[in-house]
Amino acid sequence: MSGSIWVLAEHWRGQLSESTYELLALGREIADGLGVELQAVLLGHGAADLAKGLGKANSVLSVDHSSLCEPVPEACAAALVQLIKERRPRSVLVPLTNISMGVGTLVSTAVKVPAANFCRDVRVVDGGLQATCVLYGGKIEATVTMGAECSILGIWPGARAAENGRSDVVPPVEPVTVSLPEAPRVRFKRYIEPEAGDVDITQQDTLVAVGRGMQGQANLALAEELAEVLGGAVCGSRPVIDQGWLPLSRQVGKSGVSVKPKLYLAAGISGAPEHVEGMKNAALIIAVNTDPRAPIFNVAHYGILADALEVLPALTEAVRGKKG
């Protein structure tokens, strides 16, 4: 449908990604605000089944092509460009993830329409779209307008809760064909699985960080459990590593590594400057500490003045409950 809002339904290794649901939640708001339809664009090969999960959209455009078997940005972009030229959507929401990073930019350049990158919010204002874009590592937020023309919006992960993008409704699916080059310039060869062995904490989205406030090595199990239900890993402050509770590779800070996870949960860490140096850029910092004056509360977004040994198990329970 011309004038509708599109969401690129990102999927990888047989599953729709969380970002897809986040974009659907956001796309739904925008489409409703404009009084137009929300359509999901599913590009893949043998992946049409995934359309079932896209019920938040009014309908799904499903493209099946052997070149779309794995997410090659050029191929995804080429397919999208054809669809956009044929159907003129109002705006296309593309996730800014490792998987789809360059797709939005490639498409906007080829179709010659404006793109807004790093959006953390998009709203309908006077019939036009306005986006809030995060620049300079979060130091500046720019409000930009796309007017009424077609635009490509690159959306940061976490713009909306994924939960709000899920639906039990099975949407109508329209299969569409595109023509893609027979001999692509970029060809997927193979995946390289992470080496077994110790986790790389710089690669984790969620980190449960433990400090001396955890009292003893035995209590680390509480952190491990929480990290497991959250799908993350455990890291620590230097004294924790020095005491041998965790290997050196898990040390965050000046003499350890710098991390930038989506969630950094600091349990029993005071927030010494040498520690903060390594985690201050985390997207969300939650600190549990028994000392109301602990400096960690000056960098954390949320603080809990309580015994970590009680909060961690309670949180593990709550997350389990939520996940069902």
């Binding site: 807004a116 909306r160 310039r185 060869k189 969630l263 969300l284 003045l305």
Partner: protein, 259 residues
């Protein structure tokens, strides 16, 4: 292998950023600029490729304050040439930067053809799009992003680019040359170059310069406003018994897309 590394100076966020009186642009007077971090990685990857396969590494960068020191450091690290695009107004965003680069690469002598064009996968000011994919479109070259390793089997027509996926999974792609690669991280952290070596290079080598083409268009996006989000001075405290607090955290995590 002939490799171009495109480098941009971007605002250094260690310093406070200020917004101009128009409320829509950064106050340039107080800015300090720093090389885009992933561009630094692009240079490192280029140098590693050169060490393995021979060839030449040329760094190209739009002129900016403090750029000369940065380019001399690139030469000291092992780049063969450093070309400064002179006569440019500071621009923000990937689109204008990509158009500028594309024009300079195609008009300035001795830059193209190149086998590989490496640049950082993104910069923190790519508001209207990332530079590498735009450039790849303008030059009609293949493109891969989030690259963490490039390998070549001798002087061939392709390279293998390793791209980073979620959960520490990576994937190999065959890429036809010439190509544009957006580098996420080099195989190893960018090397240190002792200051004395940079000084020596300042005496023994020189920077080249290429004139910026006239009338490079600005971005297409209309910026209504720029604002500095209020930095929180203190965490928002969550009160209640452990179960209640846990419930609140769950809500926050769900809203932030962590759960």
């Amino acid at each position: 292998m002939n490799i171009l590394v495109l480098l941009r100076m971007i605002p250094d966020v260690v310093e406070e950023l200020e917004i101009s009186n128009d409320g829509k642009t950064l106050d340039r007077e107080f800015l300090r600029l720093i090389p885009n971090e992933t561009d630094d990685h692009a240079l490192e990857e280029a140098l590693l490729l050169k060490e393995r396969h021979g060839g030449k590494v040329t760094v190209v960068a739009p002129d900016a304050p403090e750029l000369d020191d940065v380019l001399f450091a690139c030469l000291a690290k092992g780049a063969d040439r450093a070309v400064k695009i002179s006569g440019v107004e500071p621009v923000m965003g990937g689109r204008a930067a990509a158009r500028l680069m594309a024009q300079v690469l195609t008009t300035a002598p001795g830059l193209l053809p190149a086998d590989l064009i490496l640049t950082g996968v993104q910069s923190t000011e790519d508001l209207d799009g990332l530079m590498a994919p735009i450039l790849s479109h303008l030059l009609q070259l293949p493109y891969v992003d989030n690259v963490t390793q490039v390998t070549a089997d001798g002087p061939g027509k392709t390279v293998t680019a390793v791209k980073e996926f979620p959960s520490a999974v990576r994937a190999e792609f065959d890429v036809q040359l010439p190509a544009v690669l957006g580098i996420q991280a080099a195989e190893k952290p960018p090397r240190y170059v002792p200051v004395a070596k940079v000084r020596a290079v300042m005496k023994s080598q020189h920077l080249e310069s290429a004139a910026a083409p006239a009338g490079v268009e600005a971005g297409q996006l209309e910026i209504l406003q720029m604002a500095k989000p209020e930095p929180a001075e203190h965490a928002e405290m969550l009160a209640g018994d452990p179960a209640q607090v846990a419930g609140k955290i769950c809500e926050i995590l769900a809203a932030r897309g962590v759960l």
